[in-house]
């Protein structure tokens, strides 16, 4: 194994890892937004919104994220959507992650005992007051772990945007293989950096989960 080479290219991989982190953060934020909207739609009192929410989830969970990215990035210009690779990556992955998060958020909300809403409504709280003050604070605590799983998947999914030539970790590894012919070392290095990012994220999620639990 060529450690010297790995040490030499390491700084460039760090730059690429920074791009992966930016992608992950933006994707997570967009995913959370879409997930919140999706879950609200799925739990709406209006049948049309429920249908749209369900359709969103089944379309984006029912097709490969790579195809979604390709349609957005390569097919987009055909219908007037011009995005650079990074933008397409964030938007494509964010909407995809949002479909999974929709189910996570919805799952946490519906798992709260219906007696909780009843008790709140009995006291005179409106539907929205009950949701905001009684259901969501409890559901949010239940969401931390499963959203952590979504986050883990999403970080790994950022590797897909290499296919639309965003210069992140995976793409960078491929590029250095072209000049060094050392795929083992290059992918190992990329994998190592992914692992560090994911490990740190996992620790943060565990910490947050502990912090929000009621003792």
């Amino acid at each position: 194994m060529d450690f010297d080479l790995m040490l030499r290219v390491y700084p460039f991989f760090l730059d690429a890892a920074w791009v992966t982190i930016q992608l992950s953060v933006l994707t997570a934020l967009l995913g959370l937004t879409c997930g919140t909207l999706g879950a609200s739609a799925r739990l709406s009192r209006f049948a049309l919104l429920r249908f749209l929410g369900a359709a969103y989830v089944s379309v984006f969970r029912g097709t490969p994220a790579l195809i979604q990215l390709f349609i957005l990035y390569f097919g987009g210009p055909q219908i007037g959507i011009q995005l650079d690779a990074f933008e397409a990556g964030v938007i494509g992955l964010g909407i995809n992650a949002g479909a999974y998060m929709t189910e996570t958020i919805r799952g946490a909300i519906i798992s709260i005992d219906k007696g909780q809403r009843e008790a709140a409504r009995t006291l005179g709280l409106s539907q929205w007051q009950a949701t905001y003050n009684v259901i969501l604070p409890q559901a949010a605590r239940l969401m931390v772990r499963p959203l952590g799983v979504n986050l883990n998947m999403l970080i790994k999914a950022t590797a897909l945007v290499a296919a639309i030539s965003v210069v992140e970790l995976t793409y960078t590894a491929q590029r250095y293989i072209g000049s060094t012919y050392k795929p083992f070392e290059m992918f190992l290095l990329a994998g190592l950096l992914y692992m560090i990012i994911i490990y740190a994220t996992g620790r943060a999620v565990t910490w947050l989960d502990r912090k929000v639990q009621i003792t």
């Binding site: 007696g115 409504r121 006291l123 003050n133 604070p137």
Partner: protein, 256 residues
């Protein structure tokens, strides 16, 4: 115009789930300060009737009135929500499974609704919490989360939470059924205290002795109808209907 003469008035209550008729034309009047107990076998419609009073379960027919105002008014959705939220502030309810908010302390459970709906200051809210928790003997656990309370303690906090809205009427749906036997008394004591203060109450219960000792009137329900109704001395000691007798024989067998 309808003549409104009783404090609580249930008129021809009817409730169906699909083809299953759960309440079949039930009428019931409760006067201010009266305590009515509803007894009957499981599945007879007791909870459904009680939950119709604050429209937690909507009737498919009939009317519910409280203090001269119809609870289940026929209004457009938004207006109805406003109306029912206001009505419910006057109707306290206590559930079999407490339904305390687990993310809030006893204090916060008690003051959440009054703070939100009546705009109490922090000071007044604290005073209210202390007052209500004192009343149910839970002042020493005021900053405990529900997870650290026993069933009886949880139910007492739940009663304090309902009382904090200063309701005109209290509904109890088997408030002691989920409790270990040794914890039943502490909750019954609180309910007795409310009775002494002349709180108007409708109590669904399986505890015949308790019902007999606090209530002014007993309603025996079976299969969605009121089979027998009267003062506890009559219904418990000298029931006129066979079905009542049979039910009481089963339920008093252990207690006798």
């Amino acid at each position: 115009m309808t003549d409104q003469s009783h404090f609580v008035e249930i008129r021809h209550a009817q409730k169906s789930y699909g083809t299953l008729e759960v309440l079949k034309d039930i009428s019931l009047n409760v006067e201010r300060g009266q305590i009515v107990a509803i007894i009957g076998p499981s599945g007879s419609g007791k909870s459904t009737l009680l939950r119709a009073v604050n429209d937690l379960d909507s009737l498919t027919g009939g009317e519910v009135w409280l203090d001269g105002v119809q609870v289940n008014k026929d209004l457009p959705h938004r207006q109805y929500e406003k109306h029912i939220n206001a009505m419910r502030q006057d109707i306290g309810m206590v559930f079999q499974h407490f339904n305390l908010f687990p993310h809030l302390t006893a204090r916060e459970n008690v003051v959440m609704a009054p703070k939100m709906l009546k705009g109490l200051s922090k000071e007044d809210a604290n005073k209210l919490a202390e007052e209500q928790l004192e009343k149910v003997g839970m002042l020493d656990r005021i900053d405990y989360y529900p997870s650290r309370l026993s069933g009886g303690q949880k139910q007492r906090v739940a009663i304090a939470r309902a009382l904090a809205m200063k309701p005109k009427l209290m509904l109890f749906d088997e408030a002691t059924s989920a409790l270990d036997p040794e914890l039943v008394d502490e909750v019954n004591m609180v309910m007795k205290k409310l009775a002494e203060e002349h709180m108007t109450m409708i109590i669904v219960t399986h505890e015949m002795d308790f019902a007999a000792s606090v209530c002014d009137r007993v309603l025996f329900m079976d299969q969605g109808v009121v089979v027998e109704e009267g003062p506890p001395e009559i219904v418990f000691k000298n029931p006129t209907k066979d079905r009542t007798r049979e039910f009481l024989r089963k339920h008093l067998a252990g207690a006798a």
